[in-house]
Symmetry: C2
Subunit: 443 residues, 2 copies
């Protein structure tokens, strides 16, 4: 006798464990219409409050994973490793990291998402490169990976359709911020793309979806446990997202900053996180024994120009205009350039990632609703970051936009995102800790 | 700027208070399609976990009340009083109570519901009287009340349509058992029917929806506070529903037991609850000063035959066949009569109302799904109740059904509902306490 949908919902609501069979039949029924959207949303809210234990989270992930295709990348030699970030502002790490890791000989099959809320999305950034195709078929996805050792696409209709349907529902029913639901959503997609190992960048701080360290660690540990159950080595860094990463926030401006970094520009916070993640990926991919070795190899890939060449190769294979990589200043520019000035002499105490993220939506660099179009050239350049000394009336940030009507609002938001203190703030730890299946490690 | 549906859901999910304006716009949008079923069900689940405070519950009730018509009974002289029960097994109190109270001069406008889960419904019981119309228009409703002082109908399309839509959703999304949602649902319907005062029978024990005393009291207090805010004197009794009330469980069999009681038959537990509620209604309706006086007047209405005559009059006005009142034994009988025997000498220790309720569904006296038809003549006669002495093989209960295929299962369930103990059990308190706006009182 299979349980009625309302019985499954009540069971979860009352804090009881659901069996893998119950989760499977409930979600299968959701996909074929036997469980209505209104029942799934009540279920998701019950999960929000009651959570899921390890067995349930794994079963939930398994059902979502097997709702679609699981890509077989065994024909591509090497240990395939991907990175996933829980989302931040100015987080263009994937664009720099993937070519570095691929240039070091570890294949990187990467399926990315779009901007969500105040955070940017790798897919939107890639699409700011004229002609770049993120909607490859799974066949093309395999071909590009085999040819270049790196591929970057969006979620296809074949990958975890249950997650796709459920994610849209979660977004409009206030059920996004649940660790087992986030874990099931991330891991089902990552497991479907054919990887052997996964490195996670779990953000914490005001600009992250999980603001507290405890919740970020809990999410990381859940993801690692699920990964382990599916035989995929999963390692996580907990990194700071209280201020944006690097100087550029937007789409094209972030791609351009990524080129700069691949050309060897030292953007300290951005490259510290990038090299740390890269080292973990090289270690998982068997191309470095220690983290120090992984960092050295990664730096060498940049300094030798191999990483930039790899990025150029991937962009070319996926239809992007490589002219913009070689000559970024030929890219179209915005009509309005607005400077945000420092109100005082002193030091930048804070540069609030959440506020900058919302300002970037206003100027066209992000979406207010899922149907909005993005202006790829709009962005915010943060000339000053935490700890920088500033003089009164010195420019803190520059806003690039075509939208005259939102400029004043954005300018005020950016100004308020900054606090100027008389003394230099205590430096914050950028990488809080490393977590793997053996436990939590100092970085 | 009005909030997005997902923002309202998240606010409730995070434990914040919603303003009356937010609740109003959310529910209004639900009725006109701006809030989808899947958003309402996520909201209802969030309310299940987070509750609502007094202001929110009142605002919620008000929005549901004003989603439809509010009947104006000012043309009918007297203080109009209704009773509401939270639902039980064998609970035919309304059928006996309404004629008694009306016979004592207090008008009783009663809108009842159908059976829900394992509990019976007054509407289903009334409809077992051949020809009885429960679907009167609001115009007829007023006319019958004005002419007889009593009317008994079901919820019309004009009464609290928001509740009707939401109730159907709650039933299939595991969001029924929430005190503010129950309070809003009950009170919006009761306030819409045009009453001046309300008496509540809040059930507690295994056969009740609220099994614990604390939760039953909390529900009663919530209902009373909402009633007070809307200017309606509301009084509650907390009564035991660990065993069914009276001897008959079903539809016609309960109507027949009600006739018997109106003819003066002493069914102790049933009449103790009926007279207690009746006394409170007479006091609220200005026809008794003390509870003792109310009980005496009620007993006199039965002993004089006025209550039975009133019931006969109302049945006649609403199209029912009064022949069955005068000659109940002419009603059709079931094909199968199955006896459940005592396995031992001793005393009845328990007669589980929940188990009897589920058995009554099996034999056709209730519904497994909302589309099921009810067999009005099916029922269970409990010959022995808690505390009764029984001999081995003496009949404990008799099952009346046309469904041969479910008889064995029902027989086993009824047998298991009984426990036979060697010693007489401690008598249970039938009426636990009385609650009004001044506090909790011993009965």
């Amino acid at each position: 006798v299979s349980a009625l949908p309302a019985e499954i919902i009540r069971k979860k609501r009352d804090g009881d464990r659901l069996t893998p069979a119950e989760l499977k039949s409930f979600i299968a029924a959701y996909l074929d219409g036997g469980v209505a959207d209104y029942q799934m949303s009540a279920f998701l809210m019950a999960v929000y409050f009651r959570g899921m234990d390890e067995e349930e989270t794994a079963a939930f992930t398994d059902v979502m994973l097997n709702s679609g295709s699981v890509v077989d990348l065994s024909a591509v030699p090497g240990i395939k490793v991907d990175k996933h970030s829980t989302g931040g502002v100015g987080d263009k790490v994937s664009l720099i990291l993937a070519p570095i890791v691929a240039a070091c000989g570890v294949p990187v099959p990467m399926i990315s998402g779009r901007g969500l809320g105040h955070t940017g999305g790798t897919l939107d950034k890639l699409e700011s490169i004229t002609g770049f195709r993120t909607n490859l078929s799974l066949k093309e996805y395999k071909e590009v990976l085999a040819a270049t050792g790196c591929v970057m696409i969006g979620q296809t209709a074949e990958i975890a359709p249950a997650d796709k349907k459920m994610y849209a529902l979660r977004d409009v029913t206030g059920t996004v911020e649940s660790i087992p639901l986030i874990a099931g959503s991330i891991m089902s997609k990552k497991l479907a793309e054919g990887i052997d190992a996964l490195v996670l960048d779990v953000k914490t701080g005001r600009g992250a979806f999980m603001a507290s360290r405890e919740r970020s660690r809990e999410l990381a540990q859940t993801l690692i446990r699920v990964g382990k159950r599916f035989g995929k080595t999963t390692t996580a860094l907990i990194t700071d997202m209280s201020q944006p990463l690097g100087h550029a926030v937007g789409n094209w401006v972030e791609v351009a900053e990524s080129f700069d970094c691949l050309r060897g520009k030292e953007v300290p916070d951005l490259m510290e996180v990038t090299y740390a993640l890269s080292a973990l990926m090289l270690r998982s991919g068997g191309k470095a024994v220690t983290i120090a070795e992984g960092i050295n190899r990664s730096k060498d890939a940049v300094q030798s120009g191999r990483a930039l060449a790899k990025f150029r190769e991937v962009v070319g294979r996926q239809g992007g205009n490589v002219e913009f990589i070689d000559h970024p200043h030929t890219y179209p520019v915005c009509k309005h350039i607005i400077h945000v000035k420092s109100p005082a002499n002193g030091f930048v105490g804070e540069c609030d990632a959440l506020a900058i993220g919302f300002a970037s939506i206003l100027i066209g660099a992000g979406r207010a609703t899922t149907d909005d179009a993005i202006d790829p050239k709009a962005g915010i350049m943060l000339l000053k970051k935490c700890g920088d000394r500033v003089a009164k009336d010195e420019t803190l940030a520059t806003i690039l936009t075509d939208r005259a009507e939102t400029a004043a609002d954005a300018q005020e938001r950016v100004a308020r995102a900054y606090t100027i203190a008389p003394d230099a703030p205590k430096p914050v730890n950028l990488i809080h800790e490393m977590i793997d299946e053996h436990g939590v490690h100092e970085w």
